[in-house]
Amino acid sequence: MIPILCLVQEGQIAPSIGEDLRSSLDQIAQDHLGSTAGINWVEVEAGSGFTEAKPSTSSLVSIQSDRMLSQDERISIMQKICDSWIEKTECSINEIVASVNDPAAREG
């Protein structure tokens, strides 16, 4: 199981689109990391998310890999996350942040 944390702004992503996004993330995890995704989908309450000190419209997706990745693999995964978000939510490229962390970065 690949842990994936998604931080999205409340009310910004319709439930059906959220479902699509989670399916995409699961597919990305299976294709690139060989395991299903364990997705923690967290909505930031209205009035509680800020980017550049203004109300945020950003989504942040963080994948915790279970093995060390080459940079090419990492970039490919992050690109697919961004593409999926743009395609399904019609957000701008500046509204999606993706990160893929190696096991060494796991926090205690």
Binding site: L7, F50, A53, M78, Q79, V97, S99, V100
Partner: protein
């Protein structure tokens, strides 16, 4: 990135204080690191599983790009804790904060890998030029 998460006991940070704290978080991070404000995210939660509250009333956690000095991080921690205390009325001793370093190459923002610390200006210029070129078709 950076991503600052602020987890607090229910009702301990008034809604009107969040924007003020977020402004301070942004200003402090940019002043201490030279990063552009466009990169700074500050999200607030109440009684969330992470970052763990432990015995604290407020727990801040910052995921920041690797390469900052210990001195920079210590100043960020101190000044952000003071901001939360000032705007919420919570005693400074009840506000905890941690940071974690994340390599810039592990994060994609705006469709590009984040720049290494100190390379932000060139990154922003290149990013703006790329978006303009895409918009022009």
């Amino acid at each position: 990135m950076p991503l600052y998460l602020c987890n607090a006991r229910n009702g301990s940070i008034p809604p009107e204080a969040k924007a003020k704290i977020a402004k301070d978080i942004t200003d402090i991070h940019c002043a201490k690191t030279g990063a552009p404000p466009t990169f700074v995210h500050a999200f607030f939660f109440e009684e969330a599983p992470q970052p763990q509250l432990g015995d604290s009333t407020v727990q801040l956690h910052g995921n920041i790009r690797a390469g900052r000095t210990d001195e920079q991080k210590a100043e960020i921690v101190q000044e952000m804790r003071e901001s939360v205390a000032r705007h919420s009325g919570i005693d400074l001793s009840e506000i905890a904060m941690t940071t974690a370093d994340v390599p810039a190459s592990w994060v994609m923002e705006g469709g590009d890998l984040l720049p290494e610390p100190g390379e932000e200006e060139a990154w922003l210029a290149a990013h703006a030029a790329k978006l303009a070129a895409e918009a022009a078709g």
